[in-house]
């Protein structure tokens, strides 16, 4: 079995695919492979957003507590990005994220990526464009969810 390097993996996922190869290398410099057992938390609401993730295998549920019950409000799976609060001060998570099953992911060090964005604004803008699209998609999904589609 061929082992894929992180830049190769980034070249395969839609989110990073059309980023210049040198920028993918650049990002890979801040990244490492991580694994979580089912039930483990990848993010905790209120904690510092020190990382974000590209999910490679498995599902993660974004959870919130309401009326003493924990609800899952969105699942994030293979090829999708988990976390954007690392980009926006005060850099804290809004939700918990829990591995529904064993999860393999690439974890990106937020501080390292932010520093690269500051150093190279073109790279920073490319990344910001992708994350704004992601934030807009999630915002839209939340609004549709609030509209209660199945009423």
């Amino acid at each position: 079995m061929k082992i894929h390097t992180i830049p190769e993996i980034l070249g395969e996922v839609p989110f990073f695919r059309d980023l210049k190869p040198e920028y993918r290398e650049f990002l890979a410099g801040c990244a490492r492979n991580v694994h979580f057992k089912a039930g483990e938390f990848l993010l905790l609401a209120g904690k510092k957003a020190t990382h974000f993730y590209l999910i490679r295998e498995g599902h993660v549920a974004l959870e919130m507590e309401a009326g003493n019950k924990v609800f899952s409000i969105q699942t994030i799976g293979e090829g999708q990005i988990l976390g954007w609060s690392w980009l926006v001060p005060p850099y804290t998570w809004h939700y918990d994220a829990r591995a529904v099953e064993p999860v393999s992911a690439i974890s990106f060090d937020a501080k390292c990526v932010r520093e690269k964005c500051e150093k190279d604004p073109v790279f920073g803008y490319e990344l910001l464009k992708r994350f704004s699209r992601l934030i807009a998609e999630r915002l839209m999904a939340t609004r549709i969810q609030m509209a209660d589609l199945y009423q």
Binding site: S72, I73, T75, M140, I144, Q145, A147, L149, Y150, Q151
Partner: protein, 283 residues
């Protein structure tokens, strides 16, 4: 192919035939399925997408889609969500009780036009009921179609319709089934998120797919937006519309929708025929 008309089952389309409830099953807390035998066991041919007017004596009459197998006309199946006066009375029907049936009425899902192409069936909530006959047809004639994808969204795991059948369909290797709910407690291990999020990763060729979409209008609006974003043309998207009905044969005007009468020209429309009437308010 023209869908069957009511003249095949009754003397006049305004005259109900008598139906006897054979079986009632609960699908969710507020949704139930009735199997009905029509007057003396007469077969009741219909095309996927068509509906009947079900008449509860002394209460009223409502349009309900046929949710059974189009290849088995020996019994009539309807899945109904309890929302008001008539549907509440309908939930109290027991095996042996009778009701009036007029139909089948309306247009059908384009199962013949879809042959040789990918098919994506997208349903929200009770919208899976009018599409279940399509799924039965696709499965029975599997070789006539390319890829088959079923996307289903419900409010919560408890609101999922035909859960057992969805499980059986997804166990097949030749059909892709993706189910999502808007919110769930921890024990749910499936997808959570709005149904539109399933569309970008659903395995179909946007240039060669026929999409059949059914659910509340707001769900269909957002679904169509996402299908367009994926590159599916309006001519290959079909939606099923609902309006209040009375005559169901294009006479009274109750179901008017722009220039269309939903009972006669619909309920299934090619999206480009109703595109201008569909409104998605800016979010």
């Amino acid at each position: 192919m023209q869908p069957p008309t009511p003249l095949q089952t009754a003397a006049h389309p305004m005259t109900p035939v008598s139906g006897r409830v054979l079986r009632r099953r609960w699908e969710t807390d507020d949704t139930f399925t009735l199997d009905i035998e029509v007057a003396g066991g007469r077969p009741f041919p219909f095309a996927p997408g068509q509906f009947n007017m079900l008449y509860l004596f002394g209460v009223g009459e409502v349009p309900i889609s046929i949710s059974g197998d189009p290849d088995d006309p020996s019994k009539l199946t309807h899945t109904t969500r309890e929302v008001g006066v008539v549907t509440r009375a309908m939930r109290r029907l027991r095996p042996g009780d009778t009701l009036g049936v007029r139909g089948p009425f309306g247009s059908a899902w384009p199962v013949s036009e879809a042959e040789g192409r990918d098919v994506v069936v997208i349903a929200g909530g009770i919208g899976l009921a009018p599409l279940r006959p399509v799924v039965y047809h696709l499965m029975r004639h599997r070789l006539r179609y390319n890829r088959i994808v079923i996307l289903y969204g419900a409010r919560s795991p408890e609101d999922i319709l035909y859960a057992k059948e969805l499980g059986q369909w997804s166990a097949r290797l030749d059909v892709e089934v993706l189910v999502t709910v808007d919110r769930a407690a921890r024990r749910w291990r499936g997808n959570v998120g709005v149904i539109t999020r399933l569309i970008p990763r659903a395995p179909f060729d946007p240039e060669n797919v026929v999409a059949m979409v059914c659910g509340p209008e707001i769900m269909m609006s957002f679904t169509v937006l996402e299908l367009h974003r994926r590159g599916v043309a309006s001519e290959r998207i079909h939606v099923s519309m609902e309006r209040n009905m009375k005559c169901a044969i294009g006479l009274c005007g109750h179901c008017q929708y722009g220039p269309h009468f939903i009972c006669k020209d619909g309920p299934v429309f090619r999206f480009d025929a109703v595109e201008d009437l569909f409104r998605v308010r800016e979010f």
